[in-house]
């Protein structure tokens, strides 16, 4: 039994009334490199509820991206299980759409609109091309890219490419949108703008999103609930609420306080690790 996950779920006020959308329970994920078998996460558990903006936060090496790939179905856990609406996740599917950090996630041979209709048609969302066109245009307008619908991805800026990827993900209306550091490759100004736009989009439909980041500030702004992971291997450190925080109160004391608290949690690990390393050196 994973005690960390149990207490975290118990604290959530919604836990009793609503069924969780995504239930990750005691999941250990491992992947192989040429020489090593690496344990990315060790017995991680959390529950995502509908309309959550659930953030996986942690330093590099805490397995947060691996965890997201597990939920997406690209990896099977060696231990524990992951259920979406009570059904075991076995393989990738259009009910969980990924938005990646890389700009090359758009198909370069398709225009902005075709990238979205491609997803809608192949993902089984639309039967006819005209239906797909209509939905695609609706979401292109939502991310403010009308006039660019017939442009090929290589003509777009990084921010615009990410907008297309988000529009494509949202157009699929998946049970859960999986975002793997989607704004990490953007410049600071564009990143802030994209965070605001994402929150505005969320206001419209209250979709469920699982968001990976290594930025504490981004986690607080974007997230409604934050899972803090410690590295090597990734384990649950804490689960915190951030639904009351956004861009407007970054200067407030409670924003700063929570930021400092998470920083200390992650930083304490590093000190501990250094002490352990020093201790081993002595023996």
């Amino acid at each position: 039994m994973d005690q960390g996950a149990q207490t975290a779920a118990g604290n959530s006020p919604a836990a009793a009334a609503v069924d969780p959308l995504l239930d990750v329970d005691g999941v250990t994920l491992q992947y192989k490199t040429k020489e090593h078998l690496i344990t990315a996460t060790y017995r991680v558990g959390f529950k995502v509820y509908p309309a959550d903006r659930f953030v996986l936060l942690g330093p590099s090496g805490c397995g947060k991206s691996t965890l997201l790939k597990g939920v997406a179905g690209y990896m099977r856990p060696v231990e524990g299980n992951m259920r979406l609406k009570g059904v075991d996740i076995k393989e990738p599917g259009p009910d969980r759409v990924m938005v990646f950090q890389e700009f090359d996630q758009l198909l370069p041979w398709k225009t902005v609109k075709q990238n979205i209709t491609f997803a809608l048609m192949n993902g089984g969302k639309c039967k006819t091309q005209s239906e797909a066109d209509e939905i695609a245009m609706e979401y292109i307008k939502k991310v403010k890219l009308d006039r660019f619908e017939d442009t090929f991805p290589h003509m777009l800026s990084g921010g615009m490419k990410q907008r297309v990827a988000i529009a494509r993900g949202m157009a699929m209306e998946p049970d859960i949108l999986l975002m793997d550091e989607p704004f990490a490759a953007l410049d600071a100004l564009t990143r802030r703008q994209m965070q605001e736009e994402l929150l505005q989009l969320w206001e419209d439909t209250h979709f469920t999103v699982l968001f990976v980041t290594h930025s504490i500030e981004e986690a607080l702004i974007v997230g409604s609930r934050i899972l803090v992971l410690s590295p090597h291997p990734g384990q649950v450190k804490a689960e915190l609420n951030a639904h009351h925080l956004n861009h407007d109160n970054t200067a407030d004391p409670n924003f700063r306080e929570l930021q400092q608290k998470i920083h200390d949690m992650l930083f304490a690990d590093r000190i501990l690790e250094e002490e352990l390393a020093a201790g081993q050196g002595d023996q």
């Binding site: 990738p92 192949n122 993902g123 090929f152």
Partner: protein, 295 residues
């Protein structure tokens, strides 16, 4: 050692804010190029000038020094022969014969390559097979397979097709296979995310994503095939009364019609340029260049 060095300090200057930024005058920044410079900047113009120069040299030498046409016919004479044989003689049918054989061989080679690459993509053994077979057969000139083909299939179109398949197959299979391998993990994951598997995944994700490599393979395959075909036709071009372009060159040489040899060589070059620069270049402009995957 301890010579004190005076460190430079930043000079503190007064601040200023520019309240009304007007439109910049950029009129003088872009200067029009002269007419001659513009013309000279066109790629085709410069190449045409070189071509005209070469032709002029040829014509000037053969006419000016009164060279025996049996040894080295003038450019104009060779061109006249080409036009005459094309429209009055049967050269056009010989060209068609060669192109027909080429299409059979190229098509069959591509089809076999597609099957091979599908196998190579779906299993590691298949991938190893492609790598090994290519390493083995690539150094082997297709024309060296001709004697074997003649033993197996006799003197006919099937021998030529066999040799052409060998010329096309390995270049296309190797380039396509390595192109597939280089398709980014992100694009693969996107394809899987939207539920694509098996052949639809290959057709809708891998093929377009690897199109630059596939095009390279097709161009290399074409180059091998065209050269091989003309070479093979020189050895035996005539089957059941009709021969190809290579046969026309060989025949002209046998009849000591040097201008005919040149006319045949012109035709080989013309077809080569047409396919390479018009067909393949246009496909590239419409696909990989348009998608920003290649310049």
């Amino acid at each position: 050692m301890s010579t004190t060095k005076t460190l430079a300090e930043p000079v503190i200057r007064p601040e200023f804010v520019n309240e009304n930024i007007t439109d910049a005058h950029t009129g003088d920044v872009a200067v029009q190029l002269s007419f001659i410079e513009k013309i000279w900047n066109i790629n085709g113009v410069r190449k045409a000038v070189i071509l005209l120069g070469l032709v002029g040299l040829w014509q000037g030498y053969t006419v000016g020094f009164d060279v025996e046409p049996l040894m080295f016919p003038s450019f104009v004479f060779s061109l006249k022969t080409l036009i005459n044989d094309l429209f009055q003689g049967d050269l056009i049918w010989k060209v068609w014969f060669s192109i027909k054989v080429l299409i059979y061989g190229y098509g069959a080679g591509m089809a076999i390559a597609a099957v091979l690459v599908l196998w190579g993509t779906s299993s590691r053994l298949g991938g190893d097979f492609i790598a090994m077979a290519t390493a083995m057969f690539n150094p082997l000139p297709s024309i060296a397979m001709l004697p074997l083909a003649m033993l197996w299939f006799g003197l006919g179109t099937s021998s030529l097709v066999f040799v052409l398949v060998h010329a096309v197959l390995w270049a296309v299979a190797l380039n396509t296979h390595s192109g597939f391998k280089n398709v980014s993990t992100t694009l693969r994951m996107i394809g899987e995310n939207y539920g694509l598997k098996g052949v639809p995944f290959v057709v809708k994700i891998l093929v377009p994503a690897a199109l630059p490599s596939i095009m390279t393979g097709m161009k290399v395959g074409w180059a091998f095939a065209w050269r091989t075909l003309i070479g093979a036709e020189l050895v035996f071009g005539a089957s059941s009364g009709s021969g190809g372009l290579g046969w026309y060159i060989f025949e002209s040489s046998q009849n000591i019609e040097t201008e005919g040899v040149f006319a045949g060589l012109f035709m080989v070059i013309l077809i080569g340029i047409t396919i390479e620069n018009l067909l393949f270049r246009n496909i590239e402009l419409r696909t990989v260049a348009r998608w920003g995957m290649q310049r």
